[in-house]
């Protein structure tokens, strides 16, 4: 610690509110830096570093496949994937930074509010990949160039077609409150999953907390990650999921599982998932190269091909067979508002669902 603070009061405070301990002075940047392309110099510098620590909430198989593609494209740079739920990743980084451990190079979170939190703390390095500058809509990038949305997920409903009769298939969130769904639902957790945190915020806003209070009476099976409910429905552990990641549902269906995705009539909560490079990254060049490639048509196409997720790049088409992004009824997100109430949401959720 460069600044000594000998008071015990400060000690308890800084250890207690880990994230409030600022490792680096906050700096306000009003302008995004100039966009950068992938240059031979960047590749060379990244190769010297030889690795990149990628913290992400992406489903582990997908994250690893994507990383392998990057490693194949740029031999000599190993991607170390640290996968957990976004809320866990957020805790992890806060805990590590509070102990001066700057291990993270680049992060991908499904709770966009995190990007605003890190930006506010001055932890992020401004970096604008060339493609993000030219081919990403303004809504997908930070105005100061500190992060950019690289993938788009929806929180949706799904049901097992062997366990649910077609006429009983749910069409929206509120259908799941019917008595036939008692003990039949699986649901992910907003204190673990950033996608579920984002969707819980949106649903509490649009449907009211009373929806969750009613849902809690349905004897749900509480799992953690948003990628888990589709798996549980696919192998028949529960008949339907009350929330979960749409892309995993599609992947399970492609593997032959009896599962059907439903974008709820109330609107599917949209999860704009940003990437951000950390200022104190131990492998800054590899982090930038990874971030840059993530935004290229090649990286974006790779992501679509292996996972079926939506991507923001204008020139990259969504996966054949999936609806167009504009045709999905969206329940909108609001990361800056979520940032202010995230802790309340966790507490409220825990009091309603008991875990």
């Amino acid at each position: 610690m460069t600044k000594r603070d000998p008071s015990r009061r400060a000690l308890i405070k800084s250890a207690g509110g880990l994230a409030t301990t600022l490792a680096f002075p906050a700096r306000v940047l009003s302008q995004a830096p100039a966009a950068e392309a992938i240059t031979p110099a960047l590749i060379e510098a990244a190769k010297k570093e030889g690795k990149v620590n990628f913290y992400t909430a992406m489903e582990i198989n997908i994250a690893q496949q994507f990383s392998k593609a990057f490693e194949a494209k740029f031999p000599g740079i190993a991607v170390k994937v640290e996968r957990s739920g976004s809320e866990r990743v957020f805790s992890r980084i806060a805990q590590e930074y509070a102990s001066k451990i700057t291990n993270v190079d680049i992060v991908n979170t499904t709770d966009a509010a995190h990007a605003y939190a890190w930006k506010k703390q001055g932890w992020l390095a401004p970096y604008v990949p060339a493609d993000a500058a030219t081919d990403f809509d303004a809504l997908y990038k930070d105005k100061d160039g500190q992060f950019a949305v690289v993938r788009i997920v929806f929180v949706a409903i799904a049901y097992n077609t062997q366990l649910v009769k077609p006429e009983d298939a749910p069409k929206g969130f509120k259908d799941l409150l019917k008595p036939i769904w008692v003990a039949k639902l699986v649901k992910a957790h907003p204190s673990y999953s950033g996608a579920i945190m984002t969707s819980t915020f949106a649903m509490a806003r649009d449907l009211g907390w009373s929806y969750f209070e009613a849902l809690a009476k349905q004897k749900i099976m509480q799992v953690q990650s948003a990628v888990d409910p589709p798996k549980k429905v696919a192998f028949g552990e529960r008949a339907a999921m009350a929330d979960g990641a749409d892309y995993i549902t599609i992947l399970e269906k492609e593997k032959g599982a009896p599962i059907e995705l439903v974008y709820p009539v109330e609107g599917a909560p949209i999860i704009n998932s940003p990437n951000a490079v950390f200022k104190a990254a131990p492998n800054p060049n590899a982090a930038r190269l990874f971030q840059n490639w993530f935004c290229t048509p090649e990286g974006q196409e790779k992501l679509v091909a292996i996972s079926g997720q939506y991507v923001p790049h204008r020139k990259v088409r969504s996966k054949p067979g999936r609806p167009q992004l504009k045709d999905i009824k969206i329940m909108r997100d609001d990361p800056e508002a979520l940032l202010k109430v995230a802790d309340e949401i966790k507490a409220k959720y825990a009091s309603i669902f008991k875990v």
Binding site: M1, R4, P6, S7, R8, R9, A10, L11, I12, K13, S14, A15, G16, G17, L18, A19, I60, N61, Q64, S67, K68, A78, V79, K80, V81, E82, R83, S84, G85, E87, R88, S91, Q95, E96, A98, S99, K100, I101, N103, L163, S191, Y192, K219, I220, M221, Q222, Q224, S225, V227, D228, K231, K232, F235, G236, E237, A239, A350, S351, K354, V355
Partner: protein, 589 residues
């Protein structure tokens, strides 16, 4: 040291007490210092935080919350229900099994002992995941089989592991070995003459059992029940895996959630205090009960106990034991094997579903696997070595009364048994992540070990020290001091006597202790779950991570790998001549 021991009088006095040598002061200081640092420092921080408000002032508000808020009351009650049930059920199941193995002529007693050891070596969290595969209400293999046999409807189920009884059942599966080992070892030592005398005096078998055998085993049963209670109370993995999906918390899982953002360390510390206090109180109670009830079966030479003939029931008893051991060993490992090599973890493996995809993913795609394995087995070997050396030195000093104040060393080395893994994790986190503090005007620099393997090493050594100390001090007691003294009378120095006489006789005990710590460290989750960072992740934490995203195939592969490596290490250590595998009291999360 050699010079000093030559200078000191090599002839012991008549009480069998070796005269202290001059280095005793520094030696005692050094080891007490290490032990205090290991144990007392994290506890001080734990207590400090438990009574601290958010802004650093003194408060009891944290305890008001812990005991007043239903969000904490409910887990506390649940934890007590689980712990009491586990203690009772373990005793009911394991005590008769221990008797059968120790005192009856039941066939396959060695097989039963081995299988109990196998359930002992199984990490409880892995057992819990395996039981999800078996008894999840809809996809569980046993429920599927039941529906197949009875033609029941898809939403009907025989078993539901995501319930309070389910959690209790799984904890019992991996806790009963504590009771079994204690009872079997105690009965091994009861001389057969007592029972013979009873029957010679005309008592029937049942009377002999009631008047002789059961009272002899009772202290061990009570001790076992208590250990089972404490294990269940302080266990983190199994409830985290089974209770949270069912919608309830135990104290350990609740403490763990307090570490999530925004971390509430004061509450976590306060919530850990009841676990700590209850553990200390119960261990005191146990010491008292055992102190009064332990029967002196030492002294004199007794014949080996004669096995009680079971007659026609011999094979029935064996069949019953095997049926019970299906639950912690055969069924779970079968389910893990199935999940590891199948495309669908919830379907019985066939030639069509056979797949190496999980194996390939785990070893060639998952970028963390190798790093995490290296961390785990490195920590296992280091902790085992360091823990064994420390336990050896401390038990030597304590048993041979080689330094003044040796009782304190023994006490300090046993003290961590009262600290639950998750509590120690919280304490160490608080102790070794802190920034600068000022005590009485003196600035104390930070000791930041969080983020290094050192903090995990400290946690593991501390957690395993009591068991290691107990094992080695009993081994050392078995090597009578007269042997060392004879050597020293013949002119050997203390160190030479140690090297030539004591060390070879102790070898088997040392290796058993080393293996024991190694196994325990590899399967430890509760302290590691608090103390890991991305770079210092261990296998148990990786499995737990994968569990949270539902990657059952990779978990099965990692779990089986863990078991194979552990088995190889133990088998390798036991190849050293003159060793046998031993197990005693231990704890885990």
């Amino acid at each position: 040291m050699t010079d000093e021991s030559v200078k000191s009088d090599p002839v012991p006095n008549r009480g069998g007490v070796v005269r202290r040598f001059d280095a005793s002061g520094p030696v005692l200081m050094l080891f007490s210092g290490i032990l205090v640092l290991l144990i007392v420092l994290p506890l001080i921080w734990l207590i400090l935080f438990a009574f601290a408000s958010k802004d650093g002032g003194f408060t009891i508000a944290n305890f008001v919350t812990i005991f007043g808020d239903p969000a904490f009351q409910e887990p506390l009650v649940t934890t007590l229900i689980i712990a009491v049930s586990v203690g009772l059920i373990c005793s009911i199941v394991a005590a008769p099994m221990g008797w059968l193995v120790a005192r009856s002529d039941m066939p396959g007693r060695g097989v039963v002992r081995t299988l109990v050891t196998a359930s002992f070596v199984t990490p409880p969290f892995l057992g819990a995941i395996a039981w999800e595969l078996l008894a999840a209400p809809n996809s569980g293999l046993l429920n599927q089989a039941w529906r197949g046999l009875t033609g029941a409807q898809p939403d009907q189920h025989l078993l539901n592991i995501y319930t309070l009884p389910g959690v209790i059942f799984v904890i019992v599966c991996y806790t009963f070995p504590y009771v079994f080992v204690l009872v079997a070892n105690a009965l091994d030592r009861v001389p057969g003459e007592l029972e013979d005398a009873s029957s010679m005096l005309g008592a029937r078998s049942w009377t002999t059992a009631r008047r002789i055998t059961i009272p002899m085993a009772l202290p061990a049963i009570l001790a076992g029940m208590l250990i089972a209670f404490l294990q269940a109370m302080n266990l983190f993995g199994s409830p985290a895996i089974l209770a949270i999906p069912a919608g309830f918390h135990t104290m350990t899982t609740k403490i763990w959630t307090l570490f999530q953002f925004p971390p509430k360390l004061e509450l976590a510390a306060a919530a850990a205090v009841p676990l700590l206090v209850l553990t200390v109180v119960l261990l005191r109670a146990q010491a008292q009960v055992l102190g009064r009830r332990s029967y002196a079966v030492l002294g004199g030479k007794y014949g080996a106990p004669r096995p009680v003939p079971l007659g026609a029931f011999r094979w029935l008893a064996f069949a019953l034991c095997m049926a019970l051991l299906m639950l912690p060993v055969f069924l779970p490992y079968g389910a893990l094997f199935n999940a590891a090599f199948s495309k669908f973890p919830s379907k019985i493996l066939t030639w069509e579903t056979l797949s190496m995809q999980n194996v390939h993913f785990t070893f060639f795609e998952l970028s963390q696997t190798w790093h995490v394995m290296k961390n785990t087995f490195l920590l296992g070997a280091l902790s085992a070595t360091l823990g064994t050396v420390m336990a050896l030195v401390i038990s030597y000093l304590a048993i041979r009364k080689a330094v003044r104040g040796h009782q304190m060393l023994g006490f300090l080395a046993t003290a961590p048994i009262a600290i639950p893994g998750i509590v120690l994790g919280v304490g160490l986190f608080l102790a070794y992540t802190r920034p600068w503090i000022s005590v009485g005007g003196i600035d104390i620099p930070p000791i930041v070990l969080y983020g290094t393997l050192w903090i995990l090493l400290i946690a593991y050594v501390t957690i395993e020290l009591p068991a290691a100390y107990q094992q080695l001090s009993s081994s050392l007691q078995a090597v009578h001091v007269e042997l060392e003294e004879a050597s020293r009378i013949l002119g050997a120095t203390r160190l030479k006597a140690l090297r030539q006489i004591t060390a070879p006789l102790l070898l088997s005990g040392v290796i058993a202790t080393w293996c024991f710590i190694f196994v325990a460290v590899v399967r430890e989750l509760s302290a590691a779950a608090i103390l890991f960072t991305s770079d210092t992740k261990v296998l148990s934490v990786l499995i737990f991570d994968l569990k949270e995203s539902g990657d059952l195939g990779a978990i099965a592969v990692l779990g089986l790998t863990m078991l194979v490596v552990t088995t190889i290490v133990i088998a390798g250590a036991n190849l050293i001549p003159g060793t046998r595998h031993g197990m005693g009291q231990r704890r885990d999360g």
